[in-house]
Point group: C2
Chain length 293, copies 2
Amino acid sequence: MSSTKTAGSTTAPTEFLQANGQSYAYRRFGNGPGLPLLFLQHFTGTLDNWDPAVIDSLAAGREVILFDNAGVGRSTGKVPVTIAEMARHALAFLDGLGLETCDIVGYSLGGMVALQMVQDRPSIFRRMMLVGTGPRGGEDIMHLEKPSLAKRIQDPANRGYDVLKKIFFTSSAASQAAGEAFIRRISQRKDDLDPPSGPKVASAQIAAFREWEGFKGERFVELRSIRHPTLVVNGVHDEMIPVPNSYRLSENLPNAVLLTYPDAGHGSLFQYPESFTRHAAAFLSSDSESAAF
Amino acid sequence: MSSTKTAGSTTAPTEFLQANGQSYAYRRFGNGPGLPLLFLQHFTGTLDNWDPAVIDSLAAGREVILFDNAGVGRSTGKVPVTIAEMARHALAFLDGLGLETCDIVGYSLGGMVALQMVQDRPSIFRRMMLVGTGPRGGEDIMHLEKPSLAKRIQDPANRGYDVLKKIFFTSSAASQAAGEAFIRRISQRKDDLDPPSGPKVASAQIAAFREWEGFKGERFVELRSIRHPTLVVNGVHDEMIPVPNSYRLSENLPNAVLLTYPDAGHGSLFQYPESFTRHAAAFLSSDSESAAF
């Protein structure tokens, strides 16, 4: 286990942890009084998809840990087709790191994994942030085949990261400008990059979304026993995991504050990185039993 | 026009402004770099119903102005039976004060009046906060006849302010304790009090709620042209003006951040005064064109 306290998003070396019969790729940097903060990434996202404006700001107050789940980036293994199995990999990684307690932030797919991990092993987590995500049994979760999304994803004019600008941001001039700035920021890292995710990663993760949409018994009941202070964040115009999923989280989690952003889609944290990190840092710095911060 | 810069909620004298053929009761105190902040009160609430923990905290950074609308407290005139007429009184009051620009916070009934005022006279307002309220055409707005509310309101064990503890807070021990603390705080003022509102005030204001529930044409369309940065706040368990009304505000106002609180009802700002005033002060201190703060 090593730690690179002075590195940032664009320079931190990728490290590899052997655990659970796998080799997990991760980056770990930052320092300060806060607990380590584990970041769980979105659909097809790798270590290289985290916005330096978000990560480096939060790394000024705590260690941040970016993690490739099994089969993503340079982590070995097969991409699981369930959130439950992704959570098992991430918990094995945390155990391998030897962390006794940490905070956790899950974005999109990563939020579902975070929710599952907190239910499976509540004692090792203190505070949780859930961004652009939804509960088990949520509705309209990552249906990329919807005409509104499919059109933008399949448009040949949207190459590489450009597709993120179209699907993480709204069509307004301000949101598109924020999307361009986001792409410039994540393009700053030039070396030691993860390979982009291919169709195998995508199809397994889509299968996990479909399984997560299902539920047995009373919908959302499992959320009501999660006491961890939680900050739920979303853009009101998220088309990938629409904002009612965030409403259901904050209504059913007994200790969750909800923050929504205007003129913002799935990538609200990247559209308003200064606001998001200001709120996130205040939330993480609180030692109250209540999520209110 | 006078201003009592050193007074606080419990000591500020009630003043009276002659305007629009009426005598409007108000209190004005506080100072700091912020714009004056006009507070618009809830159903049957008077100048004495504002929580000192909220008001005095915000008065540390700006002048605050508490206002009795027509027919409420010691303001003359008939209580209007429409939000539109309440907005006309409040605008006449602001004109009488000679304020050229200010920020505005409306709570519950007051939020509806604030929305109407901002539509009627957009140029005199800079930023708006809407707490525990709903848009025109909102649903389930202040139906005190609902069994869940009627039972608590009519319970003879709930005397005076005790009823507020039952209807503004949830049934949890933490929320009820916060409710007791709130009642202690609003009971600190002993002199120069408003008369409590009677059934005439209540019935006129209920009529205004019923009129506000109606809409013509496309629902919420009028919100989409309000560009003012807005902070929408509510408790997720508000039974008086349920939280979907806040969702509709933040989804349809083009420039609104939503903040919801856990284990909280209609009185979320009084349950979490430290958190509410921290966010409110940060929001009001921003000079961005965006509501994100």
